[in-house]
Symmetry: C2
Subunit: 391 residues, 2 copies
């Protein structure tokens, strides 16, 4: 996603919102390691998050990009930042046992006088305990504030331009599901089916090129599907088994995940029974998902439908989505579950996940939706049903 | 990768080696968060590393798997551990602002009396500063030892069974490069080419199904290739531009990365000149890569070849590879660069990366190899050249 995907006014507005949240938490300088947050604020894009890198947002002035020397040209290519705002740490410190790149960050922060009221994303994949330790040693615990989720929360309500991206991702997701339905047949080795589905997502549609999704296809069959994060293997698809694919198209790093379960042969009554409960759960949730309704109220529609059908769903049933990098396409802010009293706002976007896992099978029919005054509107147009293929 | 890919004797040996390293560092209980390390010790496989999970290795007895309730069936399916050694934390704490899953780990460790001499992987993607903070609060700093890389180092020398996996990954990589060469033509949109190459890696070859590599294709063209971690876009391939693809097949989570540069039309002299330096660098390095030679001595072959050609290569030129999960297929132990005096051992495996990045283009022709008494032996059979396509 080049920075040019969005107007400078939109980036300015994102920074303004972020600074308001920083101010509310007493943070002067925000050290942002989440690649999705980095991209959202500056446009930075590259598979470089396996080494320390950050966007540094001070109280005034432009944000800085900070990363490995080899990645600086990538920052110049993808961000809207001025060349003078790109700062690098020495190549020779890459994965070096005796040098931590964050030591160079300490120098940069000291040079700028940004040594107090620093916000750090304590619970992020790309802010390690070792990175934090280096900052603690340099500035002391009192200088560091936990800012986990601070930027993520600003991303919750999507702009019109972002919704456009997500609808395009949704067209890619729908295309992937079409290819999945067409290729799902008895005896087909699972990995070959997954290869076709992934290729459909990347080669995309006319004027709709695909990017890499933040999660690879989750694709368990039969008893495997009692576990929820199993990827694929080469076992041929077998009659009498339910398979589900949790997949997402990705357009310029924006996502629109959707799962469907598929069945070879005549589904047994218990799976049909579960399907009905899931479909009812989705209908009720989408109808309820209006601005002002809370996350837990929306989620209650799912739990109620399942309870009526005799199932207990003991896990959350949805989460916010948008711009993402591996390993997660969720935004890690709200959850659709009991206890989350966050009110929905117009143009928030969620992956509604009324998945059901039993010891013998799993069923997943899910929808990504945007909150509108008329309720949740799906972001992708995919037949909502258990896909049944005769054998 | 099901645990059954390897014998129990091999797992026992891996644990024994790890315990020797623990003992040398005064660690009684090792808390392992790196998904590659978890898989190497237990076989655990699943895209669940986006929430806290660990393998816990005490001084005696079986290791424990610890993770989210929903992922416990996946641990039962993929590991060799007994059901009683699988422990879960409550679903309702998934990405919850007020509950950290590691609090449940504290309870488990207290129950077992494992509260001192704990080893933690301080510099790992999946051990966050927040996770560490919870353990610090519970047990104090003195109870925690940095064990970053402890297990990774045990993985450096590959077993015959592992080398077999990596050669299979190499066959997949070679197949991906064949598809790349065939599809590389003027006007082809890059994302469509990438889709074909990825699909080739996953659909694989007869009896060689592909898994997802830990890094998606890096695929910059022309000036884009001055940056080293740019993925793809939908720009058509253009005559007069060099494109490189850094890709890897993946077989049961084992990798064999290899890059090739491709050129449309007649390459200019400077790129041919660089190609010659890179090929010479590879020849010299493979000849030198015998047991007992150090990492920096091997790397010197690359720097010398580049220097003779008038280039300065200011970054490392290789790293160990094997079993991996996103975001990195390197093992993060040794580096082929000045200052790394680790001696090579037979059956260590490296990705030799004599990449060259100039402000106007980048060139990458790379090889994955295994150390043998006769020198480095490539793990994949891919024509080693700048691929030139006439226009």
């Amino acid at each position: 996603m080049p920075a040019s995907d969005f107007s400078q006014a939109e980036y300015d507005h994102r920074i303004e919102r972020t600074r308001a949240a920083m101010s509310a938490q007493g943070i002067d300088t925000l050290l942002i390691t989440d690649p999705s947050n980095m991209a959202w604020l500056t446009g930075y894009d590259g598979w470089s998050f396996y080494v320390p890198q950050m966007v540094i947002l001070p109280t005034t002035g432009a944000p800085l990009w900070w990363g490995r020397t080899q990645d600086k040209p990538g920052a110049a290519q993808t961000t809207w930042l001025a060349p003078s705002d790109l700062h690098d740490w020495p190549e020779e410190h890459v994965q070096h046992p005796d040098h931590h790149p964050v030591a160079a960050l300490v120098t940069l922060l000291c040079d700028r006088g940004w040594t107090r009221n620093l916000g750090v994303e304590m619970d992020n994949y790309y802010y390690s305990a070792a990175s934090h330790h280096v900052l603690q040693q340099a500035f002391g615990d009192a200088a560091l504030t936990d800012a986990t989720g601070l930027v993520n929360w600003q991303r919750a309500v999507k702009s019109p331009a972002e919704l456009e991206m997500m609808r395009k991702a949704g067209q890619l997701t729908a295309h992937m599901h079409e290819v999945l339905r067409a290729g799902f047949r008895e005896g087909a080795p699972k990995h070959e089916l997954v290869a076709q589905v992934q290729a459909a997502g990347v080669s995309g549609l006319p004027d709709l090129p695909g990017d890499y999704p933040a999660i690879v296809p989750i694709a368990p069959s039969g008893k495997e599907a009692s576990a929820s994060h199993i990827t694929w293997n080469d076992r041929p698809l077998t009659r009498g088994e339910a398979t589900y694919l949790e997949i997402s198209g990705c357009f310029h790093r924006y996502h629109c995940p959707a799962s469907r379960s598929l069945f070879l042969g005549e589904p047994p009554d218990d799976i049909r029974h579960a399907e009905a409960a899931v479909l009812r759960a989705i209908d009720d949730t989408l109808a309820a998902a209006r601005p002002g309704v809370t996350c837990e109220e929306v989620a209650a529609c799912v739990y109620a439908s399942f309870e009526r059908a005799g199932y207990i769903k003991a896990n959350r049933t949805g989460y916010p989505i948008g711009l993402s990098y591996p390993p997660d396409w969720g935004e890690r802010t709200m959850s659709l579950r009991p206890g989350d009293t966050t009110p929905l706002e117009e143009n928030m976007t969620f992956h509604l996940m009324p998945g059901l896992w039993t010891p013998d099978w799993g069923l997943a029919i899910t929808e990504s939706f945007v909150v509108t005054p008329q309720g949740g509107r799906p972001l992708a147009d995919i037949p909502r049903e258990l896909v049944v293929k005769p054998v």
